[in-house]
Amino acid sequence: MVEKKSILWYVLYSMESKNLIRKLILSFWFIAASAGYIFYSQLKSNSLTAPEQSTSLKLDPNVISVKGIYNDGSYTGLRTDAYYGMVQVKATVKNGNLTDVVFLEYPSSHGTSRYINGQAMPILKQEAIEAQEVKVNIVSGATETSIAFWESLDSALTQAKN
């Protein structure tokens, strides 16, 4: 499945360590299976509810041991095109073990939620703007009127020159 490989690549790409790929493919089968399940169930789902699962895949360090290979810390992968949207993950290594992978960004093809920085984001409302001829007290816009003013003044003064 495309989705399973994608998760692997997001984490590995940011780690930049080629020899690890073979070892990690085996270790990450577990993560990939969990992640793939989340995506798969979302794609299949006909309902518009947000995923129940947390954006964090807390990992059992006994299963995913990368000891001595990676330095402790948090590493953010590149934002990557997962075909149906963008995905970005952050991996945490603690005591030499990969302990967590969090979705910083997670697409939603059918659902009403997305994840940005680990927080659920509602899809924001959109509308086509109207061109209203309405009277308001004050107008807020960019400052183009000042440029027009100066250009107009400049052309007037040019004509005013002797």
Partner: protein, 249 residues
């Protein structure tokens, strides 16, 4: 009593909607804006910021106002992951993206100190309003239509909140993508931010605009702020609380 002057390269309007409004009080407000322009304008060789950019003044000799602006600029830069930055690609400093909102805020405070409760200050489309208009109604603000400049795209009633709009209508030398200096910011043509006051709205509007399509989501994640972002196809995206400002109490 209302008047408009051209200061800091933009129309500045002060409207005190009280019958006892005195013209000398209006003058005090305009004088304040002139003072701000003389200190912060990068177009004036004699301004403090120009002297700083020519290394003619050392840090311990910066005015209190300059220190305050630099401190606000640094805070905003951190809060926006660098999308707001007063340092230009050539290394010079241009704080105009934050001075405007800051100056309007100070002007509004000055008007309140003079004893007025119903007024607005509008500098180049960034607005701080308080109280009610001459008809006793909440001040109404129209977001200018980005393509038909004589029309209004949306009407809002800020009711004391600050309103700042960033757009790509040129001037815009202080708006660029810090991660890609050459990139023209043109996906979003107009981004309006409503915040607790005009200083807050203004400092985030500039950065959010530079984030393009992600700007409105950045504001969605910011508690106490709302946004209306119009793209180059005339589609507006709004934050989830924005609709609270489209009807008046």
């Amino acid at each position: 009593m209302r008047d408009t002057r051209l200061i800091m390269g933009m129309p500045v309007t002060v409207n005190i909607a009280e019958t006892e409004a005195k013209s000398e009080d209006l003058e005090k407000v305009f004088s304040y804006f002139i003072e701000v322009d003389n200190r912060f304008s990068t177009y004036k060789d004699s301004s403090e910021i120009s002297q700083i950019n020519r290394q003619e003044i050392t840090e311990n000799n910066y005015s209190n106002e300059m220190k305050e602006i630099f401190s606000l600029a640094e805070k905003t830069k951190q809060q926006t992951n660098g999308y707001f930055d007063i340092k230009m690609p050539d290394g010079s400093l241009d704080p105009s993206g934050i001075v405007k909102g800051w100056a309007i805020q100070k002007a509004a405070e000055l008007i309140k100190q003079l004893g007025y409760k119903n007024f607005y200050v509008d500098a180049g489309g960034d607005i701080q309003s308080e109280g009610r208009n001459n008809e006793g109604q909440p001040w109404s603000v129209g977001i200018r239509h980005p393509f038909d400049l004589k029309k209004i795209a949306k009407v809002i009633y800020p009711q004391g909140a600050g309103v700042a709009t960033s757009g790509n209508y040129l001037r815009g030398d202080h708006i660029y993508n810090p991660n890609n200096y050459g990139q023209q910011i043109n996906e979003v043509v107009s981004l309006t931010v409503i915040g607790p006051n005009i200083l807050e709205a203004d400092r985030f509007a500039t950065a959010a605009f530079a984030m393009g399509k992600n700007g409105v989501e950045f504001i969605e994640n910011l508690s106490g702020f709302e946004s209306y972002s119009i793209d180059n196809k005339g589609i507006a995206t709004m934050t989830s609380g924005f609709k609270n400002y489209t009807k008046h109490a």
